[in-house]
């Protein structure tokens, strides 16, 4: 089947899609967007997290056909500006993860970035206070880091929240 949708602001079409394959597979193998990672394929690890019509979801649990006409934003779409890869500057959340050393093997990072971006959108981005440790842990409960680098990840979320709040108040 043919599947067309919008990903990171661009209208895309994938052909010869098997109806049972996942959105994750379409993104990685048919559209050249390998940022979302394929790990557990059962919604347990969160490394394939994307925005699907504005709501975060595991892209391994969305059938390709369900994406028809929808809007998807992947970790690639968190970067600033336009273009591919290093043509774009890192976004606030991405920058904070690098600075805080919240990246070890990097496999869980894309999912954590998207889920963190969503948490910040719903909190500081909506004029609410920055999330505390408990709220951060709850929001990231579905994202597993097998390097167990959680402390630095939580530091990075605090840092990103501060930066986004500053950017918001300056605007």
């Amino acid at each position: 089947m043919r599947v067309s949708f919008n990903v990171n602001g661009e209208d895309v079409t994938a052909d010869d899609v098997w109806p049972g394959e996942s959105l994750l597979y379409v993104l990685r193998e048919r559209l050249g967007l390998p940022g979302s990672k394929n790990a557990c394929e059962q919604g347990e690890c969160g490394s394939c997290t994307v925005y699907f019509d504005g709501v975060t979801a595991c892209s391994c649990m969305i059938a390709a056909g369900q994406a028809q006409g929808r809007t998807v934003r992947t970790v690639e779409g968190l970067a600033e500006g336009t273009g591919k890869g290093t043509e774009r500057a890192l976004g606030t959340v991405q920058e904070a993860f690098v600075e805080a050393g919240a990246v070890q093997c990097g496999f869980c990072t894309p999912g954590l970035l998207v889920q963190t971006d969503d948490l910040l959108e719903r909190t500081v981005g909506a004029g609410m206070p920055a999330p505390g440790d408990a709220e951060i842990r709850e929001a990231l409960a579905g994202n597993l880091c097998r390097c167990t680098g959680y402390e630095k990840i939580i530091d990075a979320v605090h840092l990103a929240a501060e930066r986004r709040a500053e950017a918001g108040s300056g605007a």
């Binding site: 089947m1 098997w18 109806p19 049972g20 996942s22 394929e41 059962q42 919604g43 347990e44 969160g46 997290t49 709501v55 975060t56 979801a57 595991c58 391994c60 649990m61 969305i62 059938a63 056909g65 369900q66 028809q68 889920q115 969503d118 709850e138 929001a139 409960a141 579905g142 994202n143």
Partner: protein, 289 residues
Amino acid sequence: MEFLSPSTLEEALEAKSAHPDAVPIMGGTDVMVELNFDKRRPPALIDLARIPELAEYGPDGDRTRLGAGVPYTKVIEHLSGTAPALAKASRSVASPQIRNRGTVGGNLGGASPAGDAHPSLLATDAAVELASVRGRRRVPVREFFLSLRKTARRDDELITAVLLPEPSGPQQFAKIGTRNAMVIAVTSFALALDGERRSVGTGLGSAGPTPLRAEAAEEFLAQEFDWENGRSPSEATVRRFGELVAAAARPIDDQRGSAEYRKHALSVMARRALSWSVTDYRKGVTRCA
């Protein structure tokens, strides 16, 4: 494999009637696991995500009608007052990403004995709305689960909604797992006190081949409880209630827990849920007085 994408319920029901072995998909949190791991190759998928009616919720007479496609996140945000036990159970489902997609309708369709929504639906005497080209019918959740993963749903039917009675007393849900998130229940328990009818509802998850009720425990507590003033039941009554809940379980030993542990955990959860509920009930009695 065909991918059917109806945009109205009528189209979906016609599709299900024409392809009774087609598998409905909504949030995909169960169906996609089976597809990803080659456990299932249905001849067709019916995507229900484009049918507006299934994503709606609101009053229906003296009940709340929860469309089968409403994700857990919305249940938590909007139904904490009208369906407290279900909202509590929804909070315990997996992770935010899964709660954004998974639905009560899908939970009922899969009919896993561990399904997080089931105990609260049993305890509160909710009903399942089933639809086919032949019409719609409502089946009490208490009559819906027949045997391991088998339900009263016929092959040509789709689950379209759940009918949630208005609460008339405290409702609780408790669940045992190795961590708070991403856990399939080792065992779980829901309790609903109905002050109007002076009746008690229970629901037990991961405690047998289907979600179960502890009817003897319900009758015992309905007799013993001080419905007038909400005085705390005696220690012996609380203990007996826990024992009767555990006695209703028919658990197995598996990788998540032993049968013996499950029974023990159920008696503990039952006692705790009772004590939380009595406290809440008393607050209600005081408020009304």
